[in-house]
Amino acid sequence: MTTTPSRENYDFVVIGAGPAGLAAAATSAEAGLSTLLLDENIGPGGQVFRAIASTPVTAREQLGTDYWVGADLVQALRAGNTEVVQRATVWSLDRNLEIGVSIGGGSSFVKARRVILATGALERPFPIPGWTLPGVMTAGAAQTMLKSSALVPDGRTVIAGQGPLLWLLAAQILRLGGRIDRILDTTERGNYFAALPHAFAFLTSPYFAKGLALMREVRAKVQVVSGVAELAAVGDGQLASVSYVAGGKRETIPADLLLLHQGVVPNVNLAMAAGVEHRWNELQLCWSPVLDASGNSSIEGIAIAGDGAGIGGATAAVVRGRIAARAAVEALAPVAAAKLPPLATLRAELAKAERGRAFLDTLFRPSPQFRIPSGDTIVCRCEEVTAKDILDAVAIGATGPNQLKAYRRTGMGPCQGRLCGLTVTELMAQARAKSPQEIGYYRLRAPVKPITLAELAAVPKSEDDVKAVVRG
């Protein structure tokens, strides 16, 4: 059963129990600080270590050794005194480090001396024609079902896109006896050349051998089409086929399930709503928080670790979690910090974990046609707003996402821009011949996740609050 936090004040509150959050919370608890870890999911692990404590997949090798690293992190966390609350949805964080969290339909507020945001990443929007059809999901969605429920595709299945996760997922599906009919690789050929300068670092990183082995494993069993330059999901109320162009030739194949993936991007909603400054990252094509070397953000007391700080992968996330936590411990309890691994060691570990990242970012930089849609393709899934609608709004004077919202309701639905925000920024930037940085992003505010009206109504209020509302 879910329980609410036992106290109102903590030295340390970590939000998100993925690799960075697990490592950060364990570090702070080890230093003897009162630590609360809040996580939205049923169990710890985040996305990469999803269901690490409960997966029904008993054949360990099917998930791969990288997955089981998560078990050690959970064990380390449980060895300490961290208070962990699962199924806890943080809906508000402000510059006073007050956190509004919804648990079991009720909200509590806790105050922290230091907050570490480890809200991780989400999959980059993949706005192709038909991507809202039933039967089209993200690759990450399929991986979540595989890890937490040992469910694998068994209909006609197509995987499309690019990036390391795509190959890992394909291998896992095959190992568990699932079906994949075809893989459509959208990696742009020119990217291989662009990535060359970073190749040495990559070749000497652990990713290289692993990646190569995965691709060999998958290619032995599944037809892989490279150089896919156009992609559409087709069907009437349900996916019926996938249409694509590769090598100048169009092909349409029947499909029940299309899994899309073109990398991950930081999950910025909570940090942005708290007021943390973000900048457009031209290499990773996403918003990243402005941070110092220890992960401290523009707001005193809030640090960000893991992929939410900029995409770095799970190994880097763990180290970033430790670095951010160590810096916070240093500020709150310098004596305790002296017993933790020295900063220089952690930084060296981070450098090692980040090796090869620039290569991956360059090689798997998604093509413009898969990021910036046109015509009737839906951009905002919640409010069902198309690319053409957005261009029409630009034509009558929308200069950025916030005026667009007023004209067209983009980003006003329950997902609050998570599935359309990047597309909107890039589409408007292209239409106005501006940089994404100049165009900007939605102005986000709490609640960053929906809470019931009753929950909001139960928040403690003063006489002055009542006076500010009630009038004759």
Partner: protein, 398 residues
């Protein structure tokens, strides 16, 4: 096509040319929110050449934060002329909606079948009854048939009210509209009327020379024969540039909005309304705080609590967003419409009710600006001269 900004011309040659050249525009409207847009649209409708100078994507824009009522009841206590003006606006809204629909194809979902202010508990009912009495007794105000209703009567119109609702006031003229779509309709209509809309051009200075106004913006200068200041609370700083006075006293308001639900609320309330899309908007606070990026959850909580006591079934709905906006508020709460004695052709317009009064702005104020003079019998009461000497200006918290 937009007429070019005369930006890169040096001051000397500009002076020289000014006397020979016709101004770029008949009218420059400073401010592209609902108020400025309505006036600009109205001027375009009369065949004037108009430029609208606006700020960019991030701006304190009440037009994006408002509650979207077209509201009559309780307006004008202390100034009967405001009641008359409001009733006129309410009556003209249907025509505005129809013209926008015809021109742009956009249905702004105007609904004017009467609105309620509901009270919780007997004390609030008593206070509201007193207010309605005072409104009725006010000499010179239009009769807009505001009446008190016991809960049993209210329930006939709004069957889902909860047991704490003690009754409320009802006014048959009240209504609401989709204000964001109205905003979009005005801006869409600009194109058809040949109005030039210039975002990202906040006006930093206005001067008059050679019989025309010159408006300085970060992207150059624009010249117009007339100027209308419709920049919300910023009118306070712009007005003195052309011999006008607009003392403002802005306040912050918070609103929360729920996910879409099936239609349940056939009439708008002062603080709860269901949009044509199905979401439920719940307002609103009145705070001195003027940071529109921050939110005070305890204040939202009061609003949420009152909403669920009014309609208990709302308790389970999800709040999907909440926001704070800064009200455009003349210091005494009533609109300011004025024309400059020292700078003929300069006008100022600011008011809190940019939605309710949009029809008046589009039809009446635009007509008067086009004619070159405000009509005292319609808007004389709204001159800033009512504030006394201009020397008394304070910054109204803005």
């Amino acid at each position: 096509m937009s007429k070019a900004f005369s930006s890169e011309v040096d001051a000397g040659s500009r002076e020289e040319n000014a006397s020979k050249r016709k101004s770029d525009y008949d009218v420059a409207v400073v401010g592209g929110g609902l108020l400025g847009s309505a006036i600009a649209w109205g001027l375009g409708r009369l065949g004037k050449t108009v430029a609208v100078l606006d700020e960019g994507d991030i701006t304190k824009r009440a037009s994006r934060a408002n509650f979207a009522l077209v509201w009559v009841q309780s307006k004008g206590l202390g100034m009967p002329a405001y009641t008359v003006w409001t009733v006129r606006a309410s009556g003209a809204w249907g025509r505005l909606a129809a013209e926008l629909k015809q021109q742009t194809g956009l249905d702004v979902s105007l609904q004017q079948n009467g609105g309620f202010h509901l009270t919780l508990g007997e004390d609030e009912f008593g206070q509201r009854t007193e207010l309605v009495k005072r409104m009725h007794n006010q000499v010179g105000a239009a009769d807009y048939k505001m009446e008190m209703m016991p809960a049993s009567e209210v329930k006939k119109a709004l069957p889902l009210i909860g047991p704490e609702v003690s009754g409320g006031s009802y006014c048959p003229l009240d209504g609401h509209v989709n204000s964001l779509r109205t905003f979009r309709a005005f801006h869409t209509g600009f194109k058809a009327f040949g109005i030039d809309y210039f975002p990202e051009r906040p006006v930093s200075a206005i001067t008059k020379s050679g019989g025309e106004f010159r408006l300085a913006t970060p992207k150059g200068e624009l010249r117009a024969a007339k100027v209308v200041l419709a920049a919300g609370n910023a009118n306070q700083t712009l007005a003195p540039m052309v011999g006008l006075y607009a003392p403002m006293g802005p306040t912050r308001g918070q609103i929360v909005v729920t996910e879409r639900t099936v239609p349940f609320l056939p009439h708008p309330l002062t603080t709860i309304r269901q949009t044509d899309e199905g979401t439920v908007m719940i307002g609103d606070s009145k705070e001195d705080e003027l940071d529109d990026r921050a939110l005070k959850h305890s204040i939202s909580a009061v609003m949420a609590d009152r909403a669920q006591r009014t309609f208990p079934h709302l308790a389970r709905l999800n709040v999907v967003r909440s926001w704070a906006g800064i009200r455009v508020m003349p210091r005494d709460g009533f609109p300011i419409y004025d024309q400059s004695e020292t700078h003929p052709g300069a006008f100022v317009a600011c008011c809190h009710s940019g939605v309710t009064l949009a029809s008046n702005h589009a039809f009446e104020i635009a007509r008067m600006v086009a004619q070159g003079a405000l009509e005292p019998e319609l808007v004389g009461a709204f001159s800033a001269s009512r504030f006394g000497g201009a020397g008394a200006a304070n910054n109204g918290g803005y």
